[in-house]
Amino acid sequence: MIDILMPTIAQGLLWAIMALGVYITFRVLDIADLTVEGSFPLGAAVAASMLSEGYSVAVAFICAAIAGMLAGVATGLLHTKLKIPALLAGILTMIALYSVNLRVMGKANLSLLRIDTIFTEMQAWFNLDNVYTVLSVGAIAALLSGLFIYWFFGTEIGAAIRATGFNQQMIRAQGVDTRVTIILGLLISNALVALSGALIAQNNGFADVGMGTGTIVIGLASVIIGEVLFCTRSFKNCIVSVILGSVVYRIVIAAVLQMGMPPNDLKLFTALLVAFALSLPLVKDKVGARKAVK
């Protein structure tokens, strides 16, 4: 049991960085941002290319984050300057990024076999076995991302971004340019998503142009599972619950696979899970109304 649990938790932590990015757009900015389907493989592609070109792990991560930021800004500009609805703006960037990712890698799949990654370096440093290396890298990455988000959204700019998600009219009346706050939110979100892509690519040992498919749904699943199971109302708890939600999601997936669900049905299962979770408030209302009638 432990043999499966530890790697599963480790996966959950690596993907949690992406889920935090989705949380920022979906819950803080109140936008369903599909850019993530492109910025996740973008981070993977950039990191994998840099590493195979011989750049250091740190440089690879920094470049992946910057690439993710640019993707977020692209969507932000499409949305705020050209007034394209956010959902559509994200789809446009996502589609464009498919070509960009192919260009970055030069081919559809880039292997990291026998190339130093964050995981091989950590393993060499701390002399841990494979599973605990991934687990500690994931834990540190999730912790740092969580702390960063907690700090940033507590600052004046962060508060303005959060207020933008709740009420654009109000925050404009308080003197904040909502175009700027929306772009900033998308920038941070997609930087995190790209970093997560970079981590996953190094963990998998390859980057693939198709690895972004379903990112948004996995992110939403994590956010919503976290909310349903753990979220009390403070911002701090919400961040923790997203991370835990990502871990629980991985455990659920591992469990249903163990029970014999064919891996090909995974995305269908995830989509149903998210549809169910998203409809929970409605179901609760209906049940509540019925009780009230009785």
Binding site: G154, T155, E156, I157, G158, A159, A160, R162, A163, G165, F166, N167, Q169, M170, I171, R172, A173, Q174, G175, V176, D177, T178, R233
Partner: protein
């Protein structure tokens, strides 16, 4: 303090839905003027306030606040001069954020936000003092989400947010219309107290003629995108609702039963 000169505003110009909302409207406010604004539905009252606040650009004319020409300034940059309270109690606050967080944002109105921590001890004490003056017990609920407050509490908070950093101009668009009469009276009394205390230059739209007569030192009445009646000082003090209706009918040049109903 405020100079509005010959502004025009037409919505959907050149289409079948074309709607002239403001026609050659001019208005000059002296510092400390507290002006109540009345007029029937669609008279252009909200459009006038929104034009001053920069929600949309005017087609022509000029708007000057405190010596600064802001005709072309975007809405968020005008916030430096202007505090606003809206008709809808949901509009003025961020529902999912704490009372303290909302006040912190309002206390920085017009300043570019930076990377400093948004909340701090000093402001906290200041906010508690200000909330105490509202006398709604909100000073004990600084960490409560604004969405949990009643409409009246939210409007009182929005009013505090609009004035906590003293604005050059306070714009109130029927800010008590969504409240029950008792709460509305409280919020109006609070409005008067704050405006008097800080000597704020204020434009207050209301549908209630008695309120329009009771509050402020000046009253304007709008019709069809124009200001038809403008009375101030002693003349306003001695005005009755009957006088107002007569002045309105004379100025508008016909009897306006529907507007009479709306105004009474």
């Amino acid at each position: 303090m405020l100079h509005v000169e010959h502004i025009h505003k037409t919505f959907f110009a050149g289409t079948i839905n074309e709607k002239v909302a403001l026609q050659d409207l001019s208005l000059h406010l002296a510092p400390g003027d507290f002006v109540t604004v009345i007029g029937g539905n669609g008279a252009g009252k909200s459009t006038m306030l929104n034009s001053i606040a920069g929600v949309y650009p005017v087609d022509s004319g000029k708007i000057v606040i405190d010596g600064a020409d802001i005709t072309k300034t975007p809405e968020h940059k005008r916030a430096k001069y202007i505090g606003r309270v809206f008709q809808d109690p949901m509009m003025g606050t961020a529902a999912g954020m704490m009372i303290e967080e909302n006040l912190a944002i309002a206390a920085r109105r017009g300043k570019t936000p930076g990377l400093k921590w948004s909340l701090n001890e000093k402001d906290h004490d200041w906010f508690v003092e200000m909330l105490k003056e509202l006398d709604l017990g909100l000073e004990n609920r600084m960490t409560a989400r604004v969405g949990l407050l009643s409409g009246g509490q939210r409007q009182a908070l929005t009013l505090l947010m609009a004035t906590i950093k003293k604005p050059k101009l306070l714009l109130l668009d029927e800010h008590t219309a969504a409240l029950d009469p008792k709460t509305a009276a409280k919020v109006l009394a609070l409005t008067e107290r704050i405006v008097d205390r800080d000597q704020l230059t204020t434009l207050m739209i209301t549908h209630n003629m008695r309120d329009a007569l009771r509050y402020g030192n000046r009253l304007i009445m709008m019709y069809n995108g124009r200001i038809l009646v403008d009375v101030a000082g002693d003349e306003k003090k001695n005005l009755t609702t009957q006088d107002l209706l007569q002045m309105f009918e004379k100025a508008a040049g016909n009897t306006l039963d529907s507007d009479r109903l709306l105004l009474s």
